[in-house]
């Protein structure tokens, strides 16, 4: 690591000064990369220390922070092949299991109500499906009031016309009287 850092700090002025020396300087860089890939690429590698004869390392892949999807364990034993154990069972925490069950219960309750209502004969009955007050299929609750309202407006217009006619008639009479 210290070498890599040194390489970087040395490399910086060289890149700036001359292109020739960059080839030489690439070397420590690539070595650093290689070292990292072998030892620390998977941050989950854990190397239990203490026994020289047997070493094991474990790698976990999480779908969500609390939701381990897969685990790979590699055990090194001297003189033998590596023992690799894959575990691809979902490991849910208690909280997650509880959440799943709560969701299941809620969905079941909602589903009973919703899909039960789809079968409810009331919604297919005449009381619910019959035509609305104006025959359109929509219930228009103010229909009667609106008819009455327009009838009154009509009445108002009739009266207004009558009044105007009377006034005009009176004016004509006055005019005729004036002419005579």
């Amino acid at each position: 690591m210290a070498e890599a850092i040194a390489g970087f700090t040395i490399a910086k002025p060289h890149i700036l000064n001359s292109l020739q020396k960059t080839k030489l300087d690439l070397k420590p860089c690539s070595r650093w990369l290689w070292q990292c890939s072998s030892t620390r690429l998977f941050s989950g590698w854990q190397q239990p220390k203490g026994s020289n004869r047997k070493r094991a390392s474990l790698s976990k892949v999480n779908a969500f922070p609390d939701w381990p999807l897969m685990a790979v364990m590699v055990e090194h034993i001297e003189g033998q092949r590596d023992l690799i154990t894959y575990k691809s069972i979902w490991h849910l925490s208690d909280q997650a299991i509880k959440n799943v069950y709560v969701f299941y219960i809620m969905f079941t309750c909602w589903g009973c109500l919703f899909f039960g209502a789809m079968k409810d004969p009331y919604y297919d009955s005449e009381a619910y499906r019959k035509d609305g007050g104006d025959g359109s299929g929509h219930w228009v609750y103010d229909k009667q009031e609106d008819i009455e309202e327009s009838a009154r407006a009509e009445l108002w217009r009739e009266e207004l016309i009558e009044e105007i006619e009377q006034k005009v008639g009176g004016l004509r009479e006055l005019e005729e009287a004036g002419r005579k």
Partner: protein
């Protein structure tokens, strides 16, 4: 005030009006607290503005000392009555379709002016009672139209009373909601929602309000909540929620007769700055052409000719459609008496208006006179159209009498007592109405001979026709 707080009755200053504070509390009262000249001027001016000045309820606003005598109403709003259409003119030059607002027009300030002037754009009338009470409310609606031009009047009435508004051109919507009844909670809350959605400026109610009815009106969020209240202890708390209250003379408003709403009319037509007092309009009904045609077909089928029949209304029945006033329960005559009255009517055909089909047989049986018509009519609209085409009306104290007066038809009104007659048909001579009242105070003892004599007014009118 700080000195009074040490006294045992600390609540008393809030219960009474500030001017009527016990003067003992202010032993060294500074003179500026009660300048005598100004105070006199204030009371005089307010008494001019509101002739029926009542004691204000200090609970509503303890700092409300009445009108400000120094207030100047200049150009803040236009003097006089409200305009019929407040919408500013269209502006064809404006690319955005904005209206031609006057310079400096500020919508909030405009509203303020309207509030000071007391403009009413939308008004709701809740009318208690049946057909008779609703019919007598017509002058109030006309008054609203005259006094507040451009007003939209809606009505809430009982199912019977609502039928009257077929005859009223001034009403926009009429809904069934019986203020006297005991509504279901769903209907009650629904109606509050409807009233709130319509954004009324003013709600008038002729139901005698207690706290419950006042709360209903309060929840409608109208600006002015105007109602009659109980004249007794039942009114406790009602005026806290109402802006204006009227106290009737008795617990039955209908006992006031034709002028049963006189307090409300008085208040609505009050003089205000440059607006003079609005005269009370007479009761008028308007009948639509459609209704006239329908009723004409109906009475032709019953064998009557236009202008050649007399409407007889007020047959005793257990029907709800007999259109009596709540203030005069003794106002129906049994068929035997009607038989005597119509015994020798000739020339004009008596048309009996029955409120229920089951009365038809009784009329056919009991009435001796063969030349009669029988019509089944329950709505005031049809009755008015029938009366409009008739030569005259003989009726007891039912809506028929008021309709005849409204259409200026000659009528004979049979009353149980003379006082009732004067109450329900004031100025009878002007209305071509002959009042015949029983001497004993009971309608059934009415003098049939007098009625027969009075029948001559119909013949006269027929001769004129």
């Amino acid at each position: 005030m700080a000195s009074t707080s040490f006294l045992p009755k600390t609540i008393s200053p809030f219960l009474t009006n500030p001017p009527s504070l016990p003067s003992t509390h202010f032993t060294t009262k500074p003179s500026f607290l009660n300048p005598p000249a100004d105070h006199l001027a204030c009371t005089r001016k307010s008494s001019i503005l509101t002739p029926s000045a009542k004691k204000k309820n200090p609970w509503i606003d303890i700092f409300d000392d009445g009108e400000d005598p120094d207030m100047e109403y200049g150009s803040l709003f236009v003097d006089g009555k409200q305009e019929e259409d407040t919408r500013p003119a269209d502006n064809p030059n404006n690319p955005y379709g904005f209206l031609k607002f006057p310079k400096g027009f500020n919508i909030e300030v405009a509203q303020l002016g309207l509030k000071i002037r007391g403009d009413i754009r939308r008004c709701c009338c809740m009318i208690s009672g049946g057909v008779y009470e609703n019919l007598l409310f017509f002058p109030v609606i006309q008054m609203l139209k005259d006094r507040y031009p451009g007003i939209l009047v809606d009505v809430l009435a009982s199912d019977r009373g609502k039928q009257c508004y077929e005859l009223n051109k001034n009403v926009r919507w009429a809904n069934v909601y019986d203020p006297d009844g005991d509504p279901e909670p769903a209907v009650y809350t629904d109606m509050i929602g409807i009233l709130k959605n319509r954004y009324y400026d003013s709600i008038l109610s002729t139901k005698l309000a207690g706290l419950g009815h006042a709360a209903f009106m309060f929840m409608s969020s109208a600006r002015d909540k105007v109602s009659y209240i109980y004249p007794n202890v039942n009114a406790a708390g009602a005026d806290l929620l109402l802006t204006e209250t009227f106290k009737p003379d008795s617990t039955n408003l209908s006992e006031g007769g034709y002028h049963m709403y006189h307090q409300m009319l008085d208040w609505l037509g009050r003089a205000y700055y440059n607006v003079p007092r609005q005269p009370v309009p007479p009761l008028r009904v308007s009948i639509s052409r459609k209704l006239k045609e329908y009723v004409e077909a109906k009475y032709r089928a019953a064998g009557a000719e236009k202008g050649k029949y007399i409407v007889i209304h007020g047959i005793e029945s257990d029907s709800k459609a007999s259109m009596q006033s709540k203030g005069d329960t003794d106002s129906l005559l049994p068929l035997e008496v009607w038989d005597k009255i119509t015994d020798d009517i000739s020339g004009l055909k008596p048309v009996f208006v029955i409120p229920n089909e089951k009365e038809r047989e009784n009329v056919e049986e009991i009435i001796y006179n063969e030349d009669i018509g029988i019509l089944f009519i329950t709505t005031p609209g049809q009755l008015a159209a029938l009366i409009n085409d008739s030569a005259g009306v003989i009726a007891t104290n039912t809506a028929a009498i008021q309709l005849a007066n409204a259409r200026e038809k000659p009528s004979i009104a049979l009353f149980g007592s003379e006082e009732k007659g004067k109450l329900f048909v004031p100025k009878a001579e002007e209305k071509k109405c002959t009042i015949i009242s029983s001497k004993t105070g009971k309608l059934i003892d009415i003098d049939v001979g007098a009625v027969k004599q009075a029948l001559q007014i119909f013949d006269m009118s027929l001769a004129l026709v």
